[in-house]
Symmetry: C2
């Protein structure tokens, strides 16, 4: 059994710390020990379950980039055993803070408390609009 | 008070029916009557609360396109008062089924049951990878 967290924010901090560190075991310790956890990385299909989610993050970490993440909270709500955080993630890869940085990623993080604390059960991350003047290659509704 | 639905799927059907019909009142009747509902359309920022979500859909519908949607369920899970559906949405605009159709949209739909039935509380929709050979304009992790 994984150690759950006292608050959704504690689970979120563990998630982003592990993301920055590229630490796969720490990453997986932020997630619930369930086969129905879901991770959607930007412009990817869904990864489902502990094994699927682990493999998705192993692929990210295997790229070997040094990742720094600024997390900007946009909205959060907690009701019963369910907490939703909407965050903007500004990634910096290998210290490159030039204009080549990708636009921020907008992520939904869903935490549940199954009785002994909070853990991540869903991470859905997706692109935000590029700044004016940059080419927009993806469809909009 | 809105009429809630007997199952998460009933709420989902109401949501996609309203989406196809461009019916803003029917659309809003699929959503919970709460100020913390969240709607993220592809490559957009979040819309929050009844008024924000309503305005986001009014903007979609005001484009006036005739929209048909094939919904392909990818994954669903229900635990307590919380249900998550992951779906692929293949949109057809104005009957154009040519290769110019955008790649499917991948969406997370979160439903809650606050005691009297199920309603939508979160819709996060984002692009999927374009088919091989098409230009990829957005960043990947």
């Amino acid at each position: 059994m994984l150690n759950a967290f006292e608050t959704p924010q504690d689970a979120e901090d563990a998630f982003y710390d592990a993301f920055e560190e590229g630490n796969i075991d720490a990453m997986m310790s932020a997630w619930a020990a369930r086969d129905d956890i879901i991770c959607i990385q930007p412009i990817r299909r869904q990864a489902i379950g502990r094994q699927g989610v682990r493999e998705a993050w192993e692929e990210v970490f295997s790229a070997g980039a040094r990742i720094e993440i600024e997390v900007h909270h946009q909205h959060w709500t907690e009701s019963g055993d369910c907490a939703i955080h909407i965050v903007l993630e500004q990634l910096t890869l290998n210290g490159d803070t030039s204009n080549n940085r990708p636009p921020p990623i907008l992520a939904t993080n869903l935490y549940r408390n199954y009785g002994d604390g909070w853990l991540l059960v869903l991470h859905h991350a997706s692109p935000t609009p590029p700044p004016p003047g940059r080419v927009q290659g993806m469809p909009q509704r």
